[in-house]
Structure formats: C-alpha cells, structure tokens
C-alpha cells in the first residue's frame, strides 16, 4: 500500500543526478521540474510560482496556515508505536521507528489537537508524510479515532489533512484494521451530525484514501495532489500500459465526481472557515 513513496524517491534520485541544484537558494519543482527561487516558494506557502504545484509542508506550517495563530493545543502527544509483529525486513521495524523519530522529532505520523479557525473551534488532524511515508499503523489509527472522539465530545467540526502512502506494512493486519477503526470513528460523527471536512494533499493513497479520507462530508484537495487507491506503479504493472498524463491528480478526481473542490493552499483557511459556518 505504500507504493507511491518508492516511485517518488526513485524520481528524486534521478533528478538529483541530472541537475545539481545549489543547496538552499533554489528548489526544483516536483511537478514541472522548474528551478525556482526558494524564498519565493516559501513566501507563497510553498507553492511553485511556475505551475502552482503545492510542495509538501511541515505539520507546524500546516497548522499555522489553517488555524488562528497560537490557538493550537495538541491532544495525546505521547502516543508512540509498538512492534506487535516483531517485524523485520532488511531492517527492523523498531530501527525504522527510531530513525524516523530522530529525523522528524515526532512520535509517529500524525498530530491531532484543537484550535480556532477565524474564532471557531475545530478538532484537527494532520499527517506527517516525513514519518515513514505518512503510513497508518496503530498510532495513526488511534489518533484519528481520538480526534473524532474529541470532536464528538466537544461537538466541534473535525478537519483532517491527509498525506499518506497508505497502511503501514510493518504492523501487518493491525494496520489494515485501522481502516475499519477510523471509518467507524467518523461514522459515529456522522450519526451525531458533527461536520467533518477532509483536505487531501499530495500524496494520499491506499488504506488512508480507502477509509476516513473519502468519508468526509466535504472533501477538498490541493491543486495537482496525487490521490488514489492503488499507486500508479501497481496499476501500470497490472494493466501493462502507460497511465494517462493527469491520472489520479486532484483535477482528475474532481472531474470524476470524487471530491468537492480544489482549493489552493492560500485559500484553504477561508474556505474551511466558510464551510464550517454553514453547519
């Protein structure tokens, strides 16, 4: 389920070989491959000035972008992963966890909490793609459920921001079961008529798309975000054909009726704020 990550890193390796980009000053766009001035990208909420591609942003930047400054309070920050399968491939899962925790400073791939958006309280969950490809294991599943529980308890809207390669293989069947857990959690919100808004960012795949991400009352996506069930590489191998150019981009999903709106990052806060006002 985490196919996409692989594909991307392969691309990135290739790019690094071809074009030497000076560290720091310049950035290479993941989508149009243009070399762009880093400061300009950062000024525009990490959006490519040439093609409007939305670069991945950190959890902290995402929270600042969506919530009123300084209003975020994190919930259950100490939840950490276990290794119930004693999983080992070329590396031990426990080593992978440790490496990810050290490089990201996070316990796992999701941060949840509450804050205000133009004064209105919401519950918020944000994936951290940098932590093992934003994969969903027991901790991510539990945090999604806790965010939904909190929204239900406080009777405030839930907003989830997704970037994920899918279920975390290293937790095996327990990862798969997080799909059922998170879907059940948002179904309790639906029964209580608590609004739930999902923001799908690049990339969102596998068990995350096929559970709580696609179950929101309103589904927004960032421009050009890749969103799907199966990763492009798996599909290509299955059908033995090249995929259409804009396949699985947010624009493709909008055209096929799978999402409500594509919203540029700069307009996300006002859009979510406006939507929340309707409920």
């Amino acid at each position: 389920m985490a196919w996409f990550k692989k594909e991307r890193s392969a691309h990135e390796d290739e790019d690094r070989k071809k074009v030497k980009v000076p560290e720091g000053l310049w950035l290479k766009c993941n989508h149009c491959r243009a070399i762009v001035y880093r400061k300009e990208v950062e000024r525009s909420a990490k959006v490519c000035p040439k093609c409007e591609y939305h670069f991945p942003i950190s959890v902290e930047d995402r929270i600042d972008l969506l919530l009123d400054l300084g209003t975020f309070r994190e919930w259950s920050p100490d939840l950490a992963p276990a290794d119930p399968l004693h999983f080992k491939d070329t590396k031990r899962y426990t080593d992978r966890i440790q490496a990810a925790q050290q490089s990201t400073g996070k316990k796992d791939a999701m941060v949840i909490g509450e804050g205000r958006i133009n004064g209105n309280r919401i519950a918020l969950g944000v994936f951290h793609f940098g932590f093992m490809g934003g994969s969903m294991g027991s901790v991510v599943g539990e945090k999604v459920a806790l965010a939904a529980d909190g929204a239900l308890r406080e009777r405030i809207p839930l907003v989830m921001v997704t970037t994920s390669g899918g279920a975390r293989m290293q937790e095996g069947i327990l990862s798969l079961m997080q799909m059922a857990k998170t879907a059940a959690a948002v179904s309790r919100l639906a029964e209580a008529r608590i609004p739930y808004i999902a923001i799908l960012a690049d990339p969102t795949f596998g068990g995350v798309t096929a559970s709580f991400a696609m179950l929101a009352d309103v589904i927004l996506a960032e421009p050009k975000a890749l969103i799907g069930f199966a990763g492009p590489r798996v599909i290509e191998q299955t059908i033995k054909q090249q995929l259409p150019q804009e396949f699985q981009r947010a624009e493709f999903l909008l055209e096929h009726g799978m999402i409500d709106q594509i919203v540029p990052r700069k307009r996300l806060k006002e859009t979510v704020s406006s939507l929340v006002g309707f409920f």
């Binding site: 389920m1 985490a2 692989k6 100490d78 950490a80 992963p81 276990a82 119930p84 399968l85 999983f87 080992k88 491939d89 070329t90 294991g137 027991s138 901790v139 599943g141 539990e142 459920a145 279920a167 293989m169 937790e171 095996g172 069947i173 327990l174 990862s175 798969l176 079961m177 997080q178 799909m179 059922a180 857990k181 879907a183 059940a184 959690a185 948002v186 179904s187 309790r188 639906a190 029964e191 596998g206 068990g207 798309t209 096929a210 559970s211 709580f212 991400a213 696609m214 179950l215 799907g228 069930f229 199966a230 798996v234 599909i235 299955t238 059908i239 396949f247 096929h256 009726g257 799978m258």
Partner: protein, 317 residues
Amino acid sequence: MREYLDFEKPIAEIEDKLEKLTAAAQGRPSAEDDLRKLRTKLHQLQAEIYAGLTPWQRTQVARHPQRPSALDYIGRICDSFQELHGDRLYGDDQAIVAGFAKLNGQSVVVIGPQKGKTLKERMQRNFGMPNPEGYRKALRLMRLAEKFNKPVVTLIDTPGAYPGIGAEERGQAEAIARNLFTMASLKVPIVSIVIGEGGSGGALAIGVADRLLMLQNAVYSVISPEGCAAILWDDPKKAPDAAEALKMTAADLLRLGVVDEILPEPPGGAHRDPMAMCDAVKKAIALHLGEMLELPLEELLRRRTRKYRKIGVLGGE
C-alpha cells in the same frame, strides 16, 4: 485431476502408488494389508506436512485452484439461493457474488468474491478482484439485509480490490471506505469467514463483522507477500520471507486478537474434502449467527463499536 503443490510431492507419490496397487489388487485379500499400511502412511504424512506448513506454503494452499469457493459453500450449505445482480449505478461485477439465501430456515444475505475455476471463468470474474461496482453491489445488498432485518454472512476469498484505471475513475477508494463506514453500524448481525485469501482493503470492504472466522489454512494480510517483498526487500523472490514477517496465518491473527475462531480443515486442506469443510462452515455460521441473533440490537452494536475502537497495539512512552 488432482493438482499438487510443490511441498505435496511426497503425498502425490504415495497416492500414485496407492492407486496402482488398488488397481492391481482387484480385491485380492492378500493385498489388503499392504493397502491399509499405505493408507496409514499417507494420513501420517499428510498430517505431518500440513502441521509444519510455512506461512508461504499456507498461502499456496489458501490460493489452491481446487479450494472450495464462495459459490461451492453457498451451493452446499444453503437450502435456497437467489443471486441478485448489479449496483444500480454502473454495472454488475461478477468478481462478487451476492444474494438472498436460506440457512437452516433462516433468511440471510450472503456475499462473497469469486475467483473462478476455469480460465474462462477466471477472466469473467476478473480473478476475484472486485471493481467499485462489486463493492457497491455488496453495499446495496447489506442495506437490503438491514431493511428486512436479515443477518449478513460474507465469505472472503480475494487477492484484493482491482488496481485499474476504471476502478480509480469510478472511486475504488470511496467504494471500499463506504462499505467500512456502513458495516460499522449496520443494524443486523454480520458474520465473516475468510475461506481462502484475504487480500487487504479489498477483503476488509466486506469483512467488518461482529464475528470474524478463518479457515485453518486461510491467510489475511494488509498486502500480498509478493507486493511486500517487492517494496521492502526490493525483490519479489523474497515473498516467503515477507509471508513470515507479515504474520498472516489464521493462528497469527487469532493471537493478534483480530480473528475470533479458527475452523480446522480436513487433512490435506479444504480442497481434499470440500463436503466436510462445507459442513463445518455451516455449523460455525449457525452457531455464531445464533449467538448474535439473541443479543438485543443495542448490545450487538455496542460490542461491534468497542471491538473496532480498541483494535491496534500501542507502545509505551
């Protein structure tokens, strides 16, 4: 023709000998003794081999072309069956069979992917890999079950949801997600049995249940061993290692608290004695449905909610 798996070679040899000897003996009492000995040896060998199967070998048994399918079970254990077709939105997906059935006089809705046995049927059924319309047909029938207060029985055997262009265009992810969402609070009992291969989200999409049972040689995993090996080992030939690491056998899932009961298979696997397997499955469904039907609805739903709210293993600080 019986099909043998690689590790079944010793069994194949004895069965071949047994067949020849039986033909040669033509009822001569002097040969009876040899035949009896050979049969005993066969049973011992079978028990031995099957007791020591590796997870990868078990995966082969779970995918055995002659393993009983959902339609085999339905045909044997249901008194009557009316298949219902179509999702009323796009088409009819033959990778999933669904309909009303009578089981010991009780009306149920039964749903199961079907891989197909001949090449022609396999193509027709897309090798048991459903498209969104298959999941939406299943959803439509679950809603019917709820409307008429009939329990749902699902028989799981699929490599997974189909990864294709059309499947993505028509919302494979949404179709699966919607089923998880709906089954979480469906107001009738749900019993699911993994009869062969439980392939990831494509299996879970018909597998959110009050009781989850698994046949002894069935497997159920977040990803196929081949897929996992390709990603984590960068080498599809490491599938046996991945099968081991993924903890995907019935015994593993029971230990992890995901499965409620394992149904033992006849010696040599379900395909060696499909009738006995069907009868065992029928008995198990009747038992679990009986228990579920005695519970007040609120209690049934409370238990289902608690079960899925708790699932997962968290670490310490």
